[in-house]
């Protein structure tokens, strides 16, 4: 797999020809776009449409306006905070782990073992993950058993069944997700570049500052964006951990509650919330694109 490549990437050509003349290049995207159209666009359109039109088919802003109620803004604030915090915590630990297994000089088998475990752990969520953390941090959990002889007790209502508990649990799957997404990027940091830098007298810090991080930055930003959206859209874990209180900390729970409740939910609100989440990730992608553009300038 070792093909020689130059160390600089060629900047994408800017041209507007696609606006003015048909191009056969679009054909390459047809299967993908068809799939998206059939399986994703329609439910997406239904969501947006039902957030704007009431049951008689009239255009209305009431559902979007109901997003400003205190309970919703509280849920959104908490969700965004949890998402940012766990994107950082998971991203940080995950990046360092990725570095360790790709460039850290560890024995060869470790990387594949970590990778396969990462695939499992990244999707370890919902009820089983909560079981595991309850078994660890719960009232009669492992940590409390160990701490009992010391007379200290970890209160699960602080560390588990609340905001920080949510962050701790979310970080669990954010770490391996980061690894899976970043390993190819880290592996792309050629050894030759490192050696070239050394030959030029650069220290480790200088290498990372001027070569390593800039090359990695687009992938790091992309990973961060994915982690953020991943945390924002988590549902099963929030519900499994917090039950009904999940609606205070996760917007996804509020959405689901509008459609699942045994008493009476408000579907219009649910659709508006789901549509607003789509907007939030649109914004996240936009921010990511802008920062990528900025990061790419560093590569010059």
């Amino acid at each position: 797999m070792a093909l020689a490549t130059p160390s600089q990437s060629v900047p994408p050509r800017r041209n507007f020809s696609w606006l003015h003349s048909p191009s056969w290049d679009w054909l390459g995207l047809v299967p993908f776009l068809t799939f998206i159209a059939v399986f994703l666009l329609f439910p997406g359109l239904v969501i947006v449409q039902r957030s704007l039109f009431d049951s008689e088919g009239r255009l209305t802003w009431q559902y979007w306006q109901s997003l400003s109620q205190a309970a919703i803004t509280l849920a959104y604030t908490n969700s965004l905070q949890v998402s940012v915090i766990t994107a950082v915590s998971g991203g940080l630990i995950g990046s360092m782990l990725t570095w360790a297994i790709t460039l850290g000089g560890l024995p060869a088998g470790i990387r594949s073992a970590v990778l396969s475990f990462a695939g499992v752990a990244a999707n370890f969520s919902g009820i089983p993950l909560v079981f595991a953390f309850v078994a660890l941090l719960g009232r009669i959990g492992l940590l409390n058993q160990w701490l009992r002889p010391l007379g200290v007790a970890l209160d699960p209502q602080v560390f588990l069944y609340g905001f920080w508990g949510l962050c701790i649990v979310y970080t669990y799957f954010q770490i391996p997700l980061t690894v899976l997404v970043l390993v190819p990027a880290f592996q792309g940091l050629r050894r030759e570049w490192r050696e070239a830098a050394e030959n030029l007298g650069a220290t480790s810090t200088q290498f990372w500052l001027y070569v390593g991080l800039p090359v990695l930055m687009p992938s790091l930003l992309g990973a961060f964006a994915l982690l953020f959206v991943n945390a924002l859209s988590t549902y099963a874990t929030a519900v499994a951990l917090l039950g009904g209180v999940g609606q205070v900390f996760a917007v996804t729970v509020v959405v689901a509650n509008q459609f699942r409740t045994d008493t009476f939910g408000d579907p219009g609100l649910g659709y508006a919330l789901a549509a607003s989440m789509i907007l939030v990730i649109g914004a996240t992608i936009a921010v990511y694109m802008v920062s990528r553009r900025w990061a790419e300038q560093w590569r010059r």
Partner: protein, 392 residues
Amino acid sequence: MSGIPMNRRRFLQLSALANAGLMVWGSHPLLAQGSSALPPPPPPGPIDLKAAGGMDSLIAAARKEGELSTTALPDDWANYKGIKRVFFKEKYPFLKHNDLTPDASSAEEIEQIKANAGNKGPQNPDVIDVGFVWGARAKAENLLQPYKVATWDTIPTAIKDPDGFWYGDYYGTMSFEVNADAVPFVPQDWQDLLDPRLKGMIAINDPTASSQSTHLVWASSLGNGGTLAQPEKGLAFFKELAKKGNLVATSYSPASLVSGELPISLRWDYNALANRDNNMGKAKIQVVYPKSGTLAGVYLQAISAYAPRPHAARLWMEFLYSDEGQLLWLEGYAKPVRFNDMLKRGVIPKALLDRLPAADVKVEFPTLEQVQTGLQYIRDNWVKEVGITYKS
């Protein structure tokens, strides 16, 4: 960011275009269907056994349909495991069972009917088992078709629709479910739950999502110096419980109850008793009826207006309301609605009667209006009153 020259004029053009597109698209028939625009239902099946031509014709028609889709029937809820086994394996093995979404809530069942209206596939539920308040609501939305079982007259009037669209199937009594080994003492009444020794031990499911949980919050008004007409007392009680830290901000988990992590919860007695039996030998679960009083909750059976297999659905109802079916519910500790009638006729085996726990406390039987008001109040105010107290 984009290479297209973007100026104010172009932006306005684009947004005008987008608005026009939105209007056109919004009025498109396919997308414009609001949640009430369902296809017209097929003509309803026979109204009773006579109209169906007798049991043998019904069985023959069901045989032609070949399957039955039920939804939201967990195995351990009121002995549905036994009911499913007897109906599908013993009595009518020619009927394939599509056991849809056992964990669905009543609201989800209704949504399933709506989403699948017009489909003939196996994921379209034929029959539903929903909470008391859902019968009238589903009927109003034209989601049900009427059927009066052979034993119709022995079903109490207060819990059936006069036109036959929905009918009560069984009821349970709200109780405490306690892992006796994991608690310093077993609470016997509502106020016991507030004891500081029980800190961090109580967990319930979301009262705004699960009708079982809404009922239990409502029932606690009886233990807080109020009546069922004062649901605010129930909310105040749970607010206190949350503030004290006895109520934990997580959902009920059978695993946690058995392991002792969260050893106290509140559920319908048939659920708690079934759990006690299932875990005999692994955990000592006690089912306690609170001394100050508790309430009973009714569930309803109904046939979907869009049922692709209406005759199999009717066969199911005939079975459930026969003595045999009713006794199977009783085996699961759920009181079937024809209980008094069967007791009078002496068809209940003594062994089964003896197994039933004695609830020597006052049990309230709320009417439909009371249930609608009480549950609505709690659902509307739970997050405001108690939900925020949870935030640590």
